[in-house]
């Protein structure tokens, strides 16, 4: 079927827009990776693989499981809208937000313990708190972005052929999860 010039232009733009957005988002991820890499390398340069005995490894494992759980629910939210299931989008975005909030509560608890056992005046303490704080801030901004997308979703935004808002925020959430996959062993396991 032949398309009119206007419709063909619109179709070409609809196809290229997510590609351009995606590339921009990945460039942002690249710059964020350098930021996290700077903090992670500071930890190894200043204190090697030393880790204090007071580290709460079971809590960190629990937080990892919570964040991985939020990643699968974010994936299911994106998959749902991609296949036309708006209820699924709303349900799984809500679960992701709740798990993100649970992670933040756990990080707050971790902060309290950390300040008591290895305060920011110590080398390990400053690295630990800076890295956990940097990541926690990313989780917080991710939760805010997810909440905005959830609100738009409940108002009827996004369709199976137009859901860049969901894709973008879900990719950001996975990036935050990916950062934790490196931070978890860096601070708690090595």
């Amino acid at each position: 079927m032949a398309l009119s010039a206007g419709a063909a232009h619109e179709r070409a733009e609809a196809l290229s827009r997510p590609r351009a957005n995606r590339l921009g988002l990945w460039l942002f991820f690249a710059s964020e990776t350098f930021l996290f890499a700077a903090f992670i390398s500071a930890r190894f340069v200043s204190s090697g693989t030393y880790k204090p005995e007071e580290l709460n490894q079971p809590l960190a494992l629990f937080l990892t499981v919570v964040l991985l759980g939020s990643s699968i629910s974010a994936y299911l939210a994106e998959t749902s809208i991609a296949h036309g299931n708006r209820q699924g989008l709303i349900r799984y975005l809500s679960i992701t937000i709740l798990l993100g909030l649970a992670f933040l509560v756990g990080v707050g608890f971790e902060f309290k313990e950390a300040i008591e056992y290895f305060p920011p005046e110590t080398i390990y303490g400053s690295n630990f708190l800076a890295l956990i704080g940097l990541h926690g801030f990313h989780v917080f901004t991710g939760v805010v972005a997810l909440a905005v997308v959830l609100r738009l979703g409940t108002k009827g935004h996004f369709e199976p052929d137009d859901y860049w808002g969901v894709e973008g925020v879900v990719k950001y959430w996975h990036f935050v999860d990916l950062a934790w996959v490196v931070i978890f062993p860096t601070l708690y396991l090595f």
Partner: protein, 71 residues
């Protein structure tokens, strides 16, 4: 406007995502026990970090679709 739900496609993609999440969970638990049991675990843990990173980028972030148009 109502959109028709592609139930079969949704189920297949959801199953794939859950399988990946289960693998991520298994790798995390193994990683944790190696860290607890081995004295200097850095070298042992790096492959786990790489494998988990690859799973997230490949299946959740769809890095291979970076230059594809549309959704």
């Amino acid at each position: 406007m109502t959109t028709k739900v592609d139930v079969q496609g949704l189920r297949a993609k959801s199953r794939l995502g859950i399988r990946v999440a289960v693998w991520l969970g298994i790798l995390t638990v193994i990683e944790y026990f190696i860290a607890v049991e081995v004295t200097n675990p850095l070298v042992w843990l790096l492959p786990f970090v790489a494998a988990k990173g690859w799973l997230i980028m490949r299946y959740f972030m769809h890095v291979d679709a970076l230059f594809e148009g549309g959704h």
